[in-house]
């Protein structure tokens, strides 16, 4: 704005001198702007964009972190695509995302809508729901390992109903489900707050008009709330998808870093870690990294086509 103003001034008398001053000022501004943003640009290039690009390069080498690197082109991709463990990890990550993302989104939406009903003790409820998402993954994973123990709290609870619960973490049929429950529990509250913010922006008169027309509460939820929450839903679905597809901490902690039992909790991110630290196979790890990028990018674009349109009132 200041620049625009100075522009209009320069059109009046003393044009030449002013324009020269203007140019100097502009240059100064550019220098300042880069000085201000340089540390950020450098750090982001070093630790975010740079590594992303570097992963593409590393996916073409054979390297065990110690010896000389060899360029081997696309061989790493061919190798991981033939590796059963890779497909196990892909399958686990996808199942995990396909269950956790929709469930947490729906739970978050339902609780946000309920909490928006002017019920008493709202701040207290919000506190309770939000609390899991401020705790570290290490704390929540350890807490749930204890709860999921064969003789733990959850099975004690199931026992009341005469159900003899499984060994959640030790049984390959249940270990991934246990991590799903943990993740749904720990992220739903966070997304609920996002939905609550989205709900504030829906005009109240829509609901009043619909109520006068005789729409039931459920119809109002389905016909007004859900469609008008689309921007929040889009954000939550994308964030949820990225978060679940790259899940690492919980699998690592609960399986003791192995992805066990029987690779039932091996995820793509955990496999990348294993490729570096257990197998010393940087090229494989990088190829899986690139694969993960491409999957997340494609799914994000797809979601964008599905949910990303702006709302027209």
């Amino acid at each position: 704005m200041a620049a625009v103003q100075a522009d209009s001034q320069s059109r009046s008398g003393g044009r030449f001198l002013r324009e020269k001053g203007m140019q100097k000022w502009r240059r100064q501004e550019t220098v300042t702007a880069y000085l201000f943003s340089l540390p950020t640009i450098i750090l982001l290039l070093m630790f975010s964009l740079g590594p992303a690009v570097y992963a593409f390069f590393l996916s073409g080498v054979s390297w065990n972190l110690l010896d000389q690197m060899h360029w081997i082109g696309l061989h790493n991709y061919a190798a991981i695509f033939r590796m059963p463990l890779f497909w196990t990890a892909v399958k686990n990550s996808f199942i995990f995302a396909a269950v956790v993302m929709p469930v947490q989104t729906i739970i978050a939406m339902i609780f946000a809508v309920i909490m928006n009903q002017h019920l008493p003790a709202r701040p207290l409820f919000r506190l309770a729901f939000f609390f899991p998402s401020i705790s570290s993954s290490a704390v929540t994973s350890l807490m749930f390992m204890w709860i999921f123990n064969k003789l733990g709290l959850l099975n004690g609870f199931l026992n009341w109903f005469g159900i003899s619960g499984p060994d959640w973490i030790g049984d390959p049929r249940f270990a991934l489900s246990a991590i799903m429950i943990l993740n749904i529990w720990s992220t739903s509250g966070y997304f609920m707050v996002v939905f609550l913010a989205g709900l504030q922006s829906i005009p109240q008169n829509f609901y009043e008009a619909a109520a006068i027309d005789g729409a039931s509460a459920f119809q109002r939820f389905l016909r007004i709330t859900v469609p008008l929450l689309r921007p929040s839903t889009f954000f939550i679905v994308v964030m949820g998808m990225i978060g679940t597809l790259q899940m690492f901490d919980q699998s690592f902690i609960i399986s003791g870093g192995t992805g066990g039992p029987l690779n039932s909790t091996m995820t793509m991110a955990l496999l990348i870690y294993e490729e570096i630290f257990s197998y010393g196979n940087v090229g494989y790890g990088a190829a899986i990294t690139v694969f993960l990028f491409v999957v997340v990018l494609l799914l994000t674009l797809l979601t964008n086509r599905w949910l990303g349109k702006p709302i027209e009132y």
Partner: protein, 280 residues
């Protein structure tokens, strides 16, 4: 609108139902924490009792002291604090500077820088852990505080948040200072930055939380016990030593306390942070 008695009763029933659902939901959210607290106060044999019992008998507060003595909790606390505080300060300064430049200064390449930052919002750390690890390794930053701090020192999200905050301050505030020829640094530091203090608080809280809770970066960087942070230390304690659940839960409770206190005091700003980053 005329409300019939039937509708009124129905309204009351549905409100009761909503409240019930909320209470059940809130209990599910809180019970794991209460259970950890309860376990942390039990003697080991009571903790392992089945079916589980809620109230410890006696309350064994000594578990906390024993945990503190058995594992180097003090060291992990110091490491976590050091890393988190530096990360918060770095983000406050650097994110604000870059956010200011992007919001206020018209310069060549601004759109490029802005879209670069936005695109980095989409790169979560898990997906670049391998190249980042190799980079840190070749820089000799494995087993160093710098290795745990530098990758978190700026955040694309923070730059974005600060830019939004600066855009919300009317430009007229700076106009007279710009015309008088005050330097950008002075305008930024003395006039505009003080006006975005609430956003700075939000950013500080979010960065503290993410750094305090970070597990993966310390896992990659710190192989030596003296560099472990709290989350890493707890997990290593569980995996390498033994499964004394009362001690583990005591450690978990202690690790959560600082964040819980911050959250209770500054709840409003936490929520605000989510609402602004989560929507726009």
């Amino acid at each position: 609108m005329i409300v019939s008695p039937a509708q009124k009763t129905w309204g009351r029933i549905s409100r009761g139902l909503y409240l019930l659902i909320l209470i059940v939901g809130a209990l599910i959210m809180v019970i794991p924490f209460l259970w950890s607290l309860s376990t942390s106060l039990k003697p080991l044999n009571q903790a392992l009792a089945y079916p589980p019992r809620w109230i410890p008998h006696p309350f064994l507060w000594k578990n906390y002291i024993d945990t503190w003595k058995t594992v180097p909790m003090e060291r992990w606390f110091l490491n976590s604090t050091l890393v988190s505080v530096v990360v918060v300060i770095g983000n406050l300064l650097l994110d604000a500077l870059a956010g200011y430049a992007l919001a206020r200064i018209h310069f060549r390449g601004r759109n490029l820088v802005f879209f670069g930052v936005i695109s980095m919002l989409m790169i979560p750390f898990q997906s670049i852990m391998l190249p980042v690890y190799i980079e840190l390794r070749s820089l000799g930053l494995i087993n160093s505080y710098a290795g745990m701090i530098l990758p978190q020192l700026v955040s694309a999200m923070g730059v974005f948040l600060m830019r939004q905050a600066f855009l919300n301050i009317p430009e007229e505030v700076e106009e007279s200072a710009v015309i008088e020829g005050a330097s950008r640094w002075r305008i930024f530091w003395q006039i505009t930055l003080p006006m975005v203090q609430p956003t700075m608080l939000t950013l500080a809280l979010m960065m503290f939380m993410s750094s305090w809770n970070n597990f993966l970066l310390p896992l990659l960087v710190a192989n030596k016990l003296q560099f472990w942070t709290l989350p890493l230390g707890m997990v290593m304690f569980q995996q390498q030593y033994y499964t004394n659940w009362p001690y583990l839960m005591a450690a978990a409770v202690m690790a959560t306390i600082p964040i819980a206190i911050l959250f209770l005091i500054f709840q409003k700003w936490f929520i605000q942070g989510i609402s602004t980053t989560g929507l726009k």
